[in-house]
Amino acid sequence: MDSNLLASFGSVFAWAGPVVFAVMGETLTEKAGVINLSLNGSIILSAMVGFAAATTTGSFFWGFVGGAAASALVAFIIAFMSIGLKQSQVAVGYVLTLATKSLAYFLGAPFIGKPVMQLPLVSIPFLDNLPYVGPVLFNKTLLTYLSYLLIIVCYIYMFKTSKGLILQGIGEQPAASFVRGANVNRLRYLYTILGGALVGVGGALYSLSVKTWNGQLTGIDGIGWIALAITIFGGWHPIRGAIGAYFFVFLQWLGIALQPLLPNVNSRIFQVAPFPLMILALLFVNIGNADWVDRTLAGLPEDARKIISRLIRGMRTRGPAALGTPFENE
C-alpha cells in the first residue's frame, strides 16, 4: 500500500470519532430503556455550539463543554417529557430532531466565516513509528484517542462493573431491577443525559476536527440517523457498535477512494450510498425477529432448518426488552 493511500485510509479513524461518540452515547441511553431519537438534530446543534463556544473563548475545552451541554439539554427534555410526563419518546425525539437542526442553523449563522479552529494532531511516541499501524491509528487528535478509549470504557462499564449491570437491568426488566433496589427512573434520567452529553462531544468534535462550521455543515446531516441505526445494528454492544461506526466511515472513505476509478459516476452518489446501505443492514439483524420466518422455517427439513436458523440467530440482535416503555411502580 503506498503511503498516501495509507494516510488517507487513516483518516477513517479520525472521521469516525464523532460517529463513535454518538453511537456510544445512544447505546448507553437505549441500554437504560430510553430512545433518544433526536440525534440527527442534537449532533448538528452541538457541532454549532461547540464551534461557537470554541471560537468565542478561544479554547477547545469550552467548545467541547458547550457541545456536550447542548445535547445533554436536549436529552434532558426527552427524559422529562417521556419519564415525567409520559409523552411518546418517538414523538418528542422527532420534534427535537427538526427543531434543534433549525435552531443550529439559525443561531449559527453569525459564526460563518469565523476563524477555523482545528484540533491539533498529537502523535503518540513510539507507537506512531509502527509500520502501517502508526500513521493509521496513532497520529490523531486527542479526542480521537479519547474515542478509542471511550469504546473500551463503555464496554468495561456495561459488562464488568456492578453499575453497568444495573444499567442493563433497568432497560431489560425494570420491575426486577426495582425489586433489587434500583431507582429506575432516576437512573434513566442520568443515562439519557449522559448519553446526550457524549453525542454532544461527538458533534463538537465534528466541527472542530472533521469539517468546520460554515452555516450548512456538509456531511453531518444524516449522521445522527446513521448513529441510531448503528446502535441497533451493533446490538446495543459498544464494540459491535464501534465496528459499525468504523465500517460506515470506511464505506464513505471507499466512496472517495474509488471515485477516480469511476469518473462517470458523480461524486455525490458515492457520498450518499453508505447511508441506505447501513439502514438496509438492519434487515439482516432484524429478520430473525419476524414471525413469518419461524413459520417458514418450521416447514423446512430438519437439517436445512437448523443451519438457517443458526445463521439468522447469529445475525439477530435483540434490543433491551423495555426499550421505549415507561416504568411505573404499580
Binding site: 409523552q87 442553523y105 458523480n266 452518489i269 450518499v272 447511508f275 439502514i279
Partner: protein
C-alpha cells in the same frame, strides 16, 4: 388527605389548575410559551422582535404575490399531511414521506421526459405524470411497509433507508441519464411549457393543484370518518391486538395505510415538477415530508385541523425567507418556531394529562 391540601392552596392554585387542565387554555398557554421562547431566541440574535414579526407577516400574506406563493407552497405540505393521516391513524410513523415525495417527482418527471417530442397532448402527459408520481410514491411506501411487516425493520428506519435510496437515485438521474447538456448542476433541464400545470397569470399558483389538494383533504376526511375502512384503520392504530380479535386483518390494513399515504406523497412530488419547479433537481421534496409529520402531530392527527396548521407552517416558511434580506437572519427561523410550537403543545398536553390523572385519583379515593 390530598384533596384537603389542594383546597387549602386556595384561589390562585385553583385558577392555575383550571387553566392547565382545560384543553383550550392549555393549548393557548402552549402557544404563548412557544412565542416567548421564540422571542428570547430573537433577542439572543440581537434582532428587533417586532421587525421580525412584521417582515414575516409581510413576506407571507402581506401582498397578493406573497399570498399566492404561500398557497402554492401549501399544496405539497397539505397533500403530504393528508397522506400521513392514514399512517398516523394506523399508529405508524411514516418518516419515509420525504422519499415518497421524491419518488413521485422522479416518476412524474420520467413520464414527461420520455413523452417530450411525442405527439401526446400536454394534458394527457400531465395526467399520466401525476398518476405515475402517485404510483411511485405508493410503491416506495409499500416497500417500507413490507420491511416492517416481513423484515421486522421499524418503519422509522425503513423509511429513512428508502429516503436515502431515493436521494441517491435522484442524484444518479440528474447527474447521469437525465443530465442536461453542459455542466451538471444538480438539476435536469426544464420541461416544455405544454407540460406545465396551468398557472394563474403572473404567479406560480396553479388552481389545478390547489383544487386537487382540497379534494385530497375532503377525500381523506371522508375515508377516515365515514367508511368502515377508516374506522378499522383507527381501531388497528389504537389497539392492534383487540382489532385482530374483532376480525380485522391488522397487517394488511397497515400495509394499505402505507400505500394510501404514498399515493398522496407521490402526487405532491409530481406537482413539484409539473406545477412549480418544472425541473427535477436535488432535494426536490423540499423537506415537506418531514415537516408534514410535525403538522400531523400538532393537528392531533385530525385532517381538518391539519389544514390551517399546514397553512400557518407554510406562511412561516415563506415569511422567514424575507429575514435573510432585511435582517441577515437565517431562514431556519421558521423551523425553530414550528419545532417550539409542537414541543410546547406536547409539554402542556403532558402537564394537563398528569394533572387530570392525579385529580381523578383524588376523587376516587
Amino acid at each position: 388527605m390530598v384533596s384537603n391540601r389542594t383546597e387549602k392552596a386556595g384561589g390562585f392554585g385553583n385558577i392555575l389548575r383550571t387553566l392547565l387542565t382545560n384543553r383550550f387554555s392549555s393549548i393557548t398557554i402552549a402557544v404563548l410559551l412557544a412565542l416567548i421562547i421564540t422571542w428570547l431566541v430573537v433577542l439572543v440574535m440581537d434582532a428587533p422582535p417586532l421587525r421580525v414579526f412584521s417582515i414575516m407577516v409581510n413576506g407571507s400574506v402581506g401582498s397578493l404575490d406573497a399570498a399566492t406563493q404561500t398557497l402554492q407552497a401549501w399544496v405539497p405540505l397539505v397533500l403530504a399531511t393528508c397522506g400521513l393521516m392514514f399512517t398516523f391513524t394506523a399508529g405508524l410513523w411514516n418518516i419515509g414521506m420525504e422519499g415518497q415525495i421524491e419518488m413521485g417527482a422522479i416518476c412524474a418527471y420520467g413520464v414527461i421526459h420520455y413523452m417530450t417530442g411525442t405527439p401526446t397532448p400536454g394534458y394527457v402527459a400531465i395526467t399520466l405524470a401525476s398518476l405515475a408520481g402517485m404510483a411511485g410514491g405508493a410503491i416506495w411506501a409499500y416497500m417500507v411497509g413490507l420491511l416492517k411487516n416481513y423484515g421486522g425493520v421499524n418503519e422509522i428506519f425503513g423509511g429513512l433507508g428508502f429516503n436515502f435510496i431515493a436521494d441517491a437515485f435522484l442524484l444518479y438521474l440528474v447527474y447521469g441519464p437525465w443530465k442536461p447538456e453542459g455542466v451538471a448542476q444538480g438539476s435536469t433541464k426544464m420541461i416544455d411549457a405544454q407540460y406545465w400545470l396551468p398557472q394563474l397569470p403572473g404567479s406560480y399558483l396553479s388552481l389545478w393543484s390547489l383544487g386537487l389538494a382540497i379534494v385530497g383533504i375532503l377525500v381523506v376526511t371522508f375515508v377516515l370518518k365515514g367508511t368502515y375502512f377508516g374506522l378499522k384503520l383507527k381501531a388497528v392504530g389504537k389497539n392492534p391486538k383487540a382489532s385482530f380479535m374483532m376480525g380485522i386483518p391488522t397487517s394488511r390494513y397497515m400495509l394499505l395505510s402505507f400505500v394510501l399515504c404514498g399515493l398522496f406523497g407521490g402526487l405532491a412530488g409530481s406537482f413539484q415538477v409539473t406545477g412549480f419547479l418544472h425541473v427535477l433537481r436535488n432535494s426536490i421534496s423540499g423537506g415537506y415530508g418531514y415537516l408534514a409529520l410535525m403538522v400531523g402531530m400538532l393537528a392531533n392527527y385530525q385532517p381538518l385541523i391539519g389544514v390551517p396548521i399546514s397553512l400557518i407552517f407554510t406562511a412561516l416558511n415563506k415569511g422567514a425567507t424575507g429575514l435573510v434580506i432585511d435582517l441577515q437572519l437565517d431562514t431556519n427561523f421558521s423551523g425553530v418556531i414550528q419545532g417550539l410550537l409542537v414541543l410546547c403543545v406536547l409539554l402542556m398536553d403532558g402537564v394537563r394529562r398528569r394533572l387530570t390523572k392525579t385529580f381523578r385519583g383524588v376523587q376516587h379515593g
